[in-house]
Symmetry: T
């Protein structure tokens, strides 16, 4: 109960629309296989450009979850 241990994974989510959506994409993917996700931290925000416009936002997050 008391001495929890957390593990963190680093994922990069992409989105055509926004930074927030790219983060949500990464977390949703992690949620498919990992239970108990608690928090994330953004570590890099970048993207691809096509014809002078942002085609994809690519946001890297550290995702932390409780180990059971």
């Amino acid at each position: 109960m008391s001495n929890h241990v957390y593990k963190s994974l680093e994922l990069t989510g992409s989105s055509k629309t926004s930074i927030e959506d790219a983060v949500q994409t990464a977390i949703a993917k992690a949620h498919e296989t990992v239970r108990n996700i608690q928090w994330f931290t953004v570590t890099e925000t970048r993207g691809h450009v096509v014809d002078g416009k942002v085609a994809h936002w690519q946001v890297t997050v550290k995702i932390g979850f409780t180990l059971e």
Copy 2:
């Protein structure tokens, strides 16, 4: 007039909707007690996750204002 001095505070705003809204929340709170806020810099973007979705965006900003 000439030799201004600026002070900076570090606050973390939270929001259920977006990074921009979390920043605005922090600045609005500082505005209650501090006059002459001039600028901010984002120093960390993180958040809480519930059931595989972002529940709160938590954005830390340094907020700079003129000392009178």
Copy 3:
């Protein structure tokens, strides 16, 4: 064909509405004079405050493009 060289520029775009729009503003400006923009990385997010509200988002990006 094989040994490409990329150059990166550092620009700061501003926007009254969002971080994403400030990035797009910077890339659109670079696109006026540079061909083959491929990617960007956000290196700083800051802004101006007027009357306790964010007046402008100012986002600095490194923009990478292929040298021909």
Copy 4:
């Protein structure tokens, strides 16, 4: 209830005995004037040396608390 704002202060606590005690000294001092302290992060660990022995541990912490 929903959109909390946190403020962080930077203090340096000192102790003749341990790193943990220096942190606790800083937090106890902050607790005299600040309510609702939630967390801390260690940002620097240093100390003074006298006659080849550690005389004081000096640990700098960021201390975060809820603004009401």
Copy 5:
């Protein structure tokens, strides 16, 4: 035999008593599923505060082990 490959995981251990105990908690948890742990590096030291006292030390470590 010669060209080893090491993998590193990032875990956060918690403890009510000390930084060293929080590190040991994280390593013991990793040891349940990973063989051949060789080293660790502390990457962040933080904690929770309740009533002006450190309630939990939370120490993040990179843990390195040999891949077989």
Copy 6:
């Protein structure tokens, strides 16, 4: 007597003449309201340019003082 606690503030001083003068401006301002200032660390040196000349040096310092 033994277990001192220090607090640090972040100020930015400006000056038309030199980096040293900008630092002194910031410390003098802090001295108006804070007793027992002990040390400072320069964390950023920047400035404004008008007509191709430095109009103001803007130097950010962390200023440390003893809490009584």
Copy 7:
């Protein structure tokens, strides 16, 4: 199809001959169990010394691959 998610692992490869070979050793090991490796970034270059000569190059890389 559009919103890819990438995961990154951190491995350290070693080699008696060169930095490039140490990187290739790490990637080859990851390739045994992970499909779709796309890129790597070198995060640390170090090594062991025996009798005043480099005995092993040890290069740490973040390796990124597409999650399916």
Copy 8:
């Protein structure tokens, strides 16, 4: 009018006399070909030594200007 874009260049100025003079040398050089320089940030301060004395101060600055 509203959505400005700024570009930054990195120059290193040198001077036999002072850090401030080296910065001014770099800005004056940029001013020969670039209009609308607004600000600079010092990113590195170094120098050459001859016979145990500083022969040249070499200060690297990022120089920001408005793109028209």
Copy 9:
């Protein structure tokens, strides 16, 4: 004669064979249009992977040259 000014560019060279060759590729490209290149600093080493092997080394360098 005395107060030189240096400018730095950031390029990324690629190579199928080695880190050194990728650096040389970037410098040779810069040399086509810039005279008086004096030095470079490696700021990032990364690469593309195909079928578990390094397909391209991509090395980013800051290249410094004298402004005349």
Copy 10:
């Protein structure tokens, strides 16, 4: 009397028991050959693991002393 010069050395002390003891081990070793040690700063905390337990704490410190 007035214009002191300090030199700093980087040492790594090890200990089977605690971070504090590893720091003290490094300082005691420096004290054998260096007079006037004044301060230290912790720059890295790591350790060796044997059988899922911390076998040695290895703490790197910068040690500063007055040059006479």
Copy 11:
């Protein structure tokens, strides 16, 4: 002639008057025992404060010299 090796020392010089004078103090001290000093880099600028005024500038430099 061809394959030089340079060593760097870290010293902190102090001065009552300026940053430049503190750097020169450190280099002059190193020059008493080290030949062939070539360059320095400023790594930290701080100082002591007495009665709301800078009493000493303390500037840390890495000093590089050729090993013979």
Copy 12:
């Protein structure tokens, strides 16, 4: 036997041919006067350019050795 202390030196080796050779040059030089060198870490990779080609690779390493 148990509580080792390690010291680290910072050297820069140069080479006309490769990064690896520059590292080896620095270590061989240290080996002339220091026993028990155990490890190194690369902290900077740079070089001189002549006529658009790399004339010298200059690689800075921290070199660690056991104090007896």
